[in-house]
Amino acid sequence: MNSPARTAPLSHPGWQLAPGLLLGLSLILLIAFGLGSMLLTAGSLDIATVLNSRYLQGVVWFTVWQAMLSVFLSLVLALPVARALARYKHFPARGLLLRIMELSLVLPTIVAVSGIIGVYGRQGWATGLLNEWAPGHGWSLYGLNGILLAHVFFNAPLAARVMLQALEAIPSSRLRIASQLGLRGWWLWRSVEWPALRPVLPGLFALVFTLCFTSFAIIMTLGGGPAATTLEVAIYQALRFEFDFPQAAVLAVIQLLICGGLWLLVFRQRLESSLIPNRQLSHPVPLRGWPLQSAFYATLLFIFSVFLLLPLTAIASRGLPTLFSFGSGSVYEQLLPATGRSLLIALPAGFGSVGSALFILASARKAQNGILKAIPTTTGYLPLIVPPIVLGTGLFLLLRPGLGHNAQGWVLVALINSLMALPFIIQILRGPLNSLDSHSLRVADQLGIIGWYRWHRIYWPLLRRPIALGLAYGIALSMGDFGVIALFGSPGQPTLPVLLYQQLGSYRVSEAAGTGLWLLILLVLIFGLFSAMGRPPIYRRHTSSSPALLEPKHA
């Protein structure tokens, strides 16, 4: 008998089940307390009067309108880009473009906004050209224009990436048949591409809608005034400036109802799992095209690359001189303490998020009972249903009397940030975890690879890279957070995004560019560092040329 299995550390099933369940229950309780305190506060208002308020109606209407427009424009741009990337693999900068598109998930909004201002703002490059070619054009970045532009900048790459993965997951056999039949145009779309895209579209719509609906930094910086106020900004103003807590609570409840309702619809259709496909399955198959197709795709991808690269270039070109100016009154006097504070929040948030995701996934896999299974699964997706600002508002109202010290606020920010990242990190880790089929698990069972041994010997090699990527995402999302920190942070002790906002607000453009570039460099370093840490040992990389590697391509 294989005695070592009997002594495998942590082999009791409780070790897989209990931590995730306890964590899930704690998070559900935390969210319930937050929401409860909000509902109690809102209950003190005359709801009918509030709902009839023109201000509230205007805010809700504008929030929905800008989000719908943003989703429409993002998806309309993303679709041809995804098709071009799937079909035209010879585009010279394809790899670079894909990397930049990935950045959209973690690029801090406030940093991107500073780059967008550098290109499309009053003194921006593109506006300068427009002034020369079409004087009196009337273009202004501030208001709906800027909001839509920034939302498309962020969400079109994300949507294109998800669509591209769906297109690349089309089985080779189906593509080969389409190739052999010479399908193109409408019939290629109807018979091959649309069936692959259709399952991801509802989830993608919900994701992009939620991101635009709950957008905060973009509205704060590019909104241009009260006419362009969204629910998120209105909550912030009610809490921080008007001290109108019941009003903030009502706004948060409305936001929760809209976002939560949308995601519940998506979950009821069981479409969430196909939002981010796990692996690339197909190999390039030549498909019949129409004349000049390659030229069209190349032009489209070139324009899209320029659209994404211009703001980044603006950040780099304006920020570099600031970062290279040393001496007294140097930008580093503010940058370094802000960096310290950002890291102090982001590191625990990132590690907490990955740890929680692992526990939750382990529990969800182990739980047999329907209710027990629902707890960790629900926890993983609650942050999508309950937007961070709503949770933040609830906790702010709940803990308001006791929140005296900055550190307490930072702990809350780290906690909410780690919750924000949880759905994304679960998506990253779930694919590799599920890549072990039932046969492999049976073999592992028979060999006694259970408990700690299974985690160390079987899962760790599969999860090393995704965990590193998840850590990088978690830390980066928290580093770039501007919404939650605006609620709990202190203006006197800013994190990097808050410092950047303060600099933009006081027209210290070059300092803002320096801060933006600094934050961007930090994120690149974080991704580089974790990417290196997640790489397998060299000998394994050299001996593994296997196409059958189970690790998902996106990881």
Partner: protein, 204 residues
């Protein structure tokens, strides 16, 4: 000695279940044959502990084992495919059969090398399963099964789809195990497998 007595199993929604009743002595091989869905794999899964029987007993040397976890049973399985962890190299795949935490003694490491050498896979220890042919993968799985030194070997179509050279090499290895006193249960559609390996033949 393996004794299977009135072992019953019914899949949810199935009308007629299976009942198994047989015994097997060390060094014997029983071959099971039957169309798809006739219960060959189900029997192997019941003995291995991957399925829980509705009733009946499985005894090894008079000790009931049907309530033991798969890793506590005196059994090793070799399936038609998916025997190896795709993301781990050959040596690790075999080593995990010797110690589930891969805490291997120098002697055990030597055994792995010898096992690979014996099966014509010397120098393959750092290869990934994806780099191996079907026959090579099955040989790795069999090396692991043999090195585990369990007295009962469950073989679920282990030679299906392999070329004749690979089949012959694996059959030789299985015959050697048999002569060492290992009991085999072989589920196979292949007439030749049954003729060469089996002492008893059972049509389900």
């Amino acid at each position: 000695m393996l004794n299977v007595e009135r072992l019953c199993f019914l899949y949810p929604g199935q009308e007629n279940g299976w009942e198994y009743h047989f015994s097997l002595t060390p060094g014997q091989c029983i071959a099971i044959h039957g169309p798809s869905g006739s219960g060959k794999t189900t029997l192997l899964n019941l003995i291995a502990g991957f399925l829980e029987p509705d009733s009946g007993t499985i005894c090894w040397n008079k000790r009931p084992i049907q309530h033991l976890a798969p890793w506590e049973r005196p059994v090793t399985s070799v399936f038609q495919e998916h025997n190896l962890f795709e993301h781990l190299d050959v040596a690790t795949n075999i080593g995990l059969g010797l110690h589930p935490g891969l805490k291997l003694s120098p002697e055990q490491k030597k055994q792995i090398d010898q096992g690979l050498e014996r099966t014509g896979l010397a120098g393959f220890s750092k290869r990934m399963p994806g780099d191996l042919s079907g026959g090579q993968r099955q040989r790795v799985a069999l090396v692991r099964a043999i090195l585990r030194r369990q007295p009962l070997l469950l073989l679920d179509e282990p030679l299906t789809g392999l070329d004749s050279e690979a089949k012959n090499s694996l059959r030789t290895m299985l015959l050697e195990e048999k002569s060492r006193g290992v009991a085999l249960i072989l589920a196979s559609h292949d007439e030749e497998d049954r003729k060469i390996l089996a002492d008893h033949y059972w049509n389900l």
